[in-house]
């Protein structure tokens, strides 16, 4: 008897686990003609066999063919180095970085390029005018706008999400006096 109760309890438990429950699947009772009947049974036309209704090919997530290394993330989530640069060209052809700790604000732009109300990040750059950060926002959004305040000057640049990778530069129209180290 105890095994029977365990079976019932286990069945209920498994049905409830994970919210997964099978359909009741109740079956109608079978009726049998009583013996000794005089009336011949009626001729029963066979019911037409219905055309099988095609089952949808996909009924469960487990039938989805998942590409290799698919991560199920719905976000753009990358580490990036952001540099504040001036309009002064270095001898090696790169733009000169603007040293000093600058206030930087990073605002996400939604799919319609509208600024999302609360900035993703607000902080000071390091003393070299750079910051390294991980930016995360929904992958269907457009990108970000980065604003940097250098002294009294506000500089900004918009980056699409595809541009936010590795090292990106926010240019500021500030001329750096070239030193005379040579």
């Amino acid at each position: 008897m105890i095994f029977r109760y365990m079976f019932i309890a286990t069945s209920v438990f498994l049905a409830a686990c994970g919210g997964g429950s099978q359909s009741d699947g109740s079956t109608p009772a079978v009726t049998t003609p009583s013996s000794g009947q005089d009336t011949p049974p009626p001729v029963v036309e066979p019911e037409p066999v219905p055309e099988p209704v095609p089952e949808p090919n996909i009924l469960s997530l487990e039938n989805v063919t998942v590409p290799a290394q698919f991560d199920w993330s719905m976000y753009k989530d990358d580490e990036v180095k952001i540099k504040t640069v001036s309009t002064t060209m270095r001898p090696d052809g790169a733009l000169a970085g603007i040293g000093g700790k600058h206030f930087m604000k990073i605002v996400a732009l939604d799919a319609n390029h509208n600024e999302v109300e609360n900035p993703l990040q607000k902080s000071l750059t390091d003393r070299t005018g750079e910051t390294r950060t991980k930016l995360k926002f929904p992958s269907e959004w457009y990108g970000v706008k980065i604003e940097v305040t250098v002294g009294n000057k506000l500089c900004s640049k918009v980056f699409s999400k595809d541009e936010i990778t590795g090292e990106i530069e926010v240019p500021c129209d500030i001329e750096i006096p070239v030193g005379d180290g040579e």
Partner: protein, 567 residues
Amino acid sequence: MNMKYSLSLGIALVFQTPYVFAAATETNTVDNQDGTFTYTQKINKDSTSPHYVAPSGYGFNYYSHSGQDYGWQHSFSEASNPLVKIQSATLLIRGFDIDSEAFHGTSGEYDGISVDGNDLNPGLLQGTNGTWSETPFDVPTSYILDDGLMDVFLDIDMNHNYVWWKTTLDYSLLTITYAITANDAPYTPTLNGSPQGCATANNDFVVDVSNSDNADPDGDAVSYEYRWFVDIGQGEVVDDEVAGKTDHTGNTVLSSEVNAGETWRVQVIATDSNGLVSDPAFFTWMLGENDSDCDGINDNNDDYPNDDKRASNNYSVESTLAYEDLWPDKGDYDLNDLVITNRFNVIKDANGLVKQIDLTGSIQARGATLASGFAIAFSGTTSANVESINMAINGQSEAVTAEAGHSSELVVAVLKNTHSATNDSLTYSFFNTQSGDERSVIPVTMSLIFVEPVNPLAIGNAPFNPFIYRVSDRGREVHLPNYAPTALANTGFFKTGADNTEVGGETYMTPAGHPWALEISTSWLHPMESVDIIQAYPAIQDWAESRKARGATWYSTPVSGKCWKCN
């Protein structure tokens, strides 16, 4: 004095003439005939290993720029003698064309010097364009006496990478005057600065030594030497006279000397009646300029203008976490065993480090019979760094502690039992997953404050590493795909049932790549009980099978009647 060190002293007295190590470094010890000795060591272009290995094309005697930083090593072998006590220790660096004039502002050439990884004061070499200059640094005695080695590093143009800022060093001269005595050096001064905290240009700066009544382990009389530094906009402090100020040598700087936006620092060294010196102590004043808490962020941009430990609110985008709880066995993919919305405010200080994390969320559904807990793992910090954790579930507040058993990360159980918060109905055994069950979501808040702010790159982005675990079996954790298990996870479940977790590789997915949990990047109406997510949101198939090329907003196109409140 024991025999060993008597012998050592004897040897030192016999060999007072200049001597040179195997390396071509000028090293000399002079007996001052007053019981003290003066040791000097000069390192330059001719020095060799272990003191200096000349880089190719730069280094001493070469014009070198920001990409050509280099280092050298001073040594003081007498440091191993515990009776050697230091009366003074200076590092003097001679260089040419040190363009650190203050008028350059933050654009100037600033060459930082560190010893054993610690920045010295002043914070940069001091000198002018086209001239030779010498910058003296007081070297803390502890840097010398710990192992007798001082690794010095020159960071040229430390604030930029301007190739036009170049400098040439002639030599680095270490000078140590010491005595061999059983007498001990004074204690490091304990400083009280006035005003405390954020200063204004109307304040006189005064520093007092609070341990002057117990300043020396031998009870010797002690005097104090003051050296003042100021940053007037260069980003690093220099000697006050170098910055065009008065050369202050007392314990006070008058308000007439200071300006808004400056940073002032005083160095105090105690000297006892035997001439032995302590390690230096420092006190720093920052003068805000439209910056009430002097954290460096203008009040207009500061979300916490009167709190120097906090500067900015950084909000994550609201998301929905949806879990299956039968791991490692397959569930029914209704992704509603726990559905919890979340939005985090990561509160950072002025340096961008994380001081506090606030969670605002809600339990939206619990379509499970199994009782689960919901927790978040934070990498880059541990429970030892927690100042406080406060939680509120459905308005009921409680202070909680971090979960024990994690030594390399911090884990906070936000919900210890999802059932206890969601079992208020006699009609519905689940919560908000059955037809007609449309109860209000249950608000959840958490506020986590760190003692020391945490590197945001180490702690990662919200929602960090959220997971559920079985209340009756703590080791059975369910994480988002490719998130790591915690130290309390029972890894014996890996690769059992339907799981294909590879430690160090893909985690919490089946061999076919199906997950047990998803983070949906917005608020979301979860599938009804036993309704597979693919039936409620068919577009997820195309999204997954196209490798996200299509169907990016699959979560916004539900099938009517298949998900909660989407009839």
